[in-house]
Symmetry: D2
Subunit: 363 residues, 4 copies
């Protein structure tokens, strides 16, 4: 259950304040050139830093321990490790037996009868480091096929961002400390985040992810729908409470004649006049952009007083959560969401036989 | 990919206008009493009928071919078959090489280079018959543990239904031909459906599904989050374009202090003061009700003129979709959604070791 | 666990004296022409008949219920059903609570706390009918690539059969009622079988299976070795107690210099001077013939008096097993073993990307 | 494919002369006390050393990176790493494009179009280090249930060892440098190994593995037979060419009346008078000892001159394999085989619901 994927399988491990986090990729085609700079850049996109994020200082340097010889993949498992550098479990000690509201503390304890109290352990967003490292390898494969996966904030704390062109939105957002693609609304959102920081509170938001140049035919009938697979992938990210594709929940207000994308010929190819479907019909890609959105809840770690129960003393208590937290996790979830979508796409392309087992000439 | 589940595995098969549809359940505990009346009642809840649904007449009688002896499960695969009775592929003949907008016709053809043109084949909602039969067995297991799974329409064509108490809402909805839980809004929604029927059009909506008395501790860390699993299960249903849990997309507008459910003692047990999380924290159940919603698109089959392309002649055409279709699929998706949620819950309970391999005394 | 395969997945169901047995193939490429005559011929090769086998009369007619349109596969699940015709559970009634020695009666009961007493239920060799039907589809795929899978008896009741050329051995064996490839030893083996029949006893033997024209590179490193996979496949057949590949257990008596197959050039291609490895090195095919043998135990159902325990009365009893049984199951296991090997090969070829998702031109 | 197990899943990684090898265990129950001394002792049992094994000097110290807090498992993935210390790929440089007979060099190249020439890379027996570390954790679980798994050499280079009592045999073998359980034959076997060492050659053998106190009811019907699973597990070990259970290949020479284990009452419990079945009937354990044997081929790395082909120059060559190798791998395969059997047993017990998700009181 710590493994993701059917063919391109990623297994992640590691606790937030343990020695390290890491992952193994099994099923990566042989003969792939590993651009380590690119991998590191992806890691940096997720790394905390700046005034709107956690003050934990991690360099997040990826070390590749196996599966790669002279920069080329061997077809064997790629083991990647990221050592935890700035570990400090002390702020969590006083909450050893007191679950934090909005966190997985209580549910892990209910499940396992034991829990890693050091900053959420395995349930911490620190775990997503490993996802991004694996996603970077997936992106290296996708880029051989001209497939792009990118995301940006679509809404923060109720402030909606307008997006006309997804690619441009991404470019703008990458320069924004809160990954806002809408310069007209950026200050409003930033001010809101600053305000809740002062209040010891947090805000949520919506992230939009787009995949371009995806070939038609990906996804499997019935239970293996790529829309279901993408939902699974994105809902597995901590703090995500909703997923929609294309028009999403808006379809509830549309008629069939409004929602159906008309089928047309464009440059001699079968295409769709609109993309309300978000690139997927019957769970299989139709060649148009895949457009998805996820709902991200406000960071549960807040300084404001909250109620909880000490499960050893079985008494109610009031707590204030310390440690180093993001007042809004939306910006840093973007690269994680991109990573998950990239993993899904590579996996589906392998299942569809569009990616070979080896990029060298032999096979 | 036509198999769902890890431990309680359901494999479905069959085309809409083929001989039959069916499923195999592998991993059902032995010693379970099969209440065939209950199974049939579940089938009937999904069956077309009434003025708001398709005119196809299917009796949907489930025949159990294996895995059950004298009404008791053996622990071996349960094979269930539902013969297709009212098969009529003729209306689809003229669209043999013309994909219908909003349907999987084009994507299946892009994937397989061949497609069953007889009413969508495998991509038809007819496939969900098999899901409901398997879900009925899952419900028989859940009911041994007092777990209830039910759903109702939450919105149809933009008409929102008010729900105060989920259980009562379900009771009311079950008596409504459109599964509306809000008597004040029922006529408005029905009139809307009638209107679009006359126009040769269709409408979408939102379905809410609730699971009660679910034990804390279900779901697996990281990729096996039960929220991700539920999203996967429900997004695999034809026509579903969005999924949310608890507050869902509304979290974008909330602060952490508003969204976090405070932890309290209730009758000496750890519980939550509110249920914004929808019963799940960190991907693991917390003992509160699981509350989910899915967005259902308007039925793509509409009589209104639409544009498409004949992929053999590679020429644009105008079509009108015939056959027997639901103007609004929302009411009939309810039992399908319940079935999928039930499958997930049984699977997670088996994974957690809460359901034995056999209900008889021996093991 | 009633499913076999990763990509080309076969799920079987059905009890020996239930209504029917059958299977679903999920993952069969689209566009495959189904030669129903060939499928039926494979079924007939396994069917009881003749003086050396069970007297149960089954026609074993395969009915395809889904996944095929006008004789061509759609890429969707192929559901096949074989109705049980000559069902007669009466001889088993007196053994309802008395497990038969050498059978799975006791172990199924220990596992599930309930068992199908009607002729072994799911543990009966009747289950292998479904394997052969699936294997026939696999063979149809393999034959597109010139790959042949065949088997014959290598030993019966201690009588060893000499084989010089595997293909010729197969041809001879197919004409022998006991699948003996060695005309000089056939009578000796037949006489032995007749003798044990008279004694109310049975004999075992060894089956050899050969796969020819298998491309190099099949199988996965470490746990996915094709040798391990073939062992798994063949050991899953009822009554099989041993598996070996190439020189098998004889390697214990060889030196490295004797056992290593020297690598040579043959017609400009890398080949091996001998084939002690049985076509597999490091768990991956090397392009030579795959040669395997399995040990088949004597049929446990014998008329001779045996000791058992009535598990309800918890008292020791003496029994004589009635019903219709093969005095030697070796000849009828041959097509089952071929089926399992064929399933493995198709699965590995799909994993290696050597078989497309569709045989039509489109994908 | 580098993952083993359904519930208790082990993923291994690492090349022979890379930085490290390691594994991740996913699905280990929470609350298990990790006895690190025991783990290290298991590692030491496999480690090279002594006059009959490879001269590579590895300390094989296991470092646990995650999943364990204060010596207790958390239920999250256990990542274990073993750094490669005595790495020396130089002897392999001259064979960069020349596959060694009996090795996976050619087949890996045929599969991936690239291969790690440094001592076999992933196909090296070095990979089994990770199996033993995972197996040690499995043994810690089994020992809570009184289940013992042990092995010894049964034959080396044709010299057969007599065993009367399996447990005693193990005790004796553990003190023998070649894991010989038969003091009368030990010198003969050792002299043989010394002789082939001098000749620059190697020998094979047979290993017997026994599992005691295994509960009845483990294993799944049809494809999930525990006998098939054990065969899969043991055949996945490098150099293993055959597997048999109970009487194994000898069943070919037995009659049903000789082979069937009679069912009797022993201390009021259903047991078997003999154990020809090796503890398994119909693929499910019957409560008797599981007794298995595997055929181990002679080490392919030999100094003697051998023929091969340089696949870049496509010319035949003569080679002598250097590096540090075991003249007989049998003794060192014993702990690896025990590890694989232990993994299977823990996995089957979890599937059967006999091991909880957590050993602490809560769940």
């Amino acid at each position: 259950m710590n493994t993701f994927g059917h063919f391109f399988r990623v297994t992640t491990w590691g606790e937030s304040h343990g020695k390290a986090v890491g992952c193994i990729i099994d099923g990566c085609p042989a003969g792939l050139e590993i651009d380590e700079d690119f991998v590191q850049k992806e890691m940096d996109r997720r790394r905390p830093g700046g005034e709107f994020s956690s003050k934990r200082k991690e360099i997040d340097k990826v070390e590749i321990l196996s599966g790669v010889l002279n920069g080329i993949t061997l077809g064997t498992p790629i083991s990647m490790i990221i050592w935890n550098v700035d570990v400090d479990p002390r702020p969590y000690e006083e909450l050893k037996t007191i679950p934090r509201p909005g966190h997985a503390d209580w549910t892990y304890y209910a499940k396992f009868g034991i829990r890693d109290w050091r900053g959420g352990g395995r349930a911490s967003a620190r775990e997503t480091v490993a996802r991004v490292s694996a996603g970077a390898i997936a992106k290296l494969i996708l880029r051989k096929y001209g497939i792009k996966v990118f995301g940006y904030a679509k809404e923060i704390g109720g402030v909606e961002f307008h997006v006309e062109n997804a690619e441009k939105a991404f470019e703008i957002a990458e320069k924004s400390p809160i990954r806002c693609p809408d310069p007209k609304k950026e200050k409003e959102a930033e001010d809101l985040i600053k305000k809740v920081m002062v209040e010891g509170d947090s805000v949520g938001g919506i992230v939009e992810i787009v995949a371009q140049n995806v070939p038609a035919g990906l996804g499997e009938p019935v239970f293996g729908k790529i829309s279901a697979y993408l939902a699974y992938a994105l809902m597995s990210i901590p703090s995500v409470k909703g997923f929609e594709i294309g028009k999403g929940f808006e379809v509830s207000k549309l008629k069939g004649s409004e929602n159906n994308d008309q089928i047309i010929l464009k440059n001699g190819k079968i295409r769709f006049a609109t993309n309300n479907a978000g690139g997927i019909l019957g769970g299989i890609t139709n060649g148009e952009d895949i457009v998805m959105r996820i709902a991200v809840k406000p960071t549960p770690s807040i300084a404001k007083k909250q109620k909880s129960v000490d499960y050893e003393k079985m008494g109610e208590v009031e707590i204030s959560v310390k440690g180093r937290h993001d007042p809004c996790i939306v910006p840093r979830i973007v690269p994680v969401a991109e990573a998950m979508v990239s993993l899904v796409l590579v996996d589906c392309m392998l299942l569809q036989g569009l990616i070979p087992r080896s990029f060298t000439g032999r096979t």
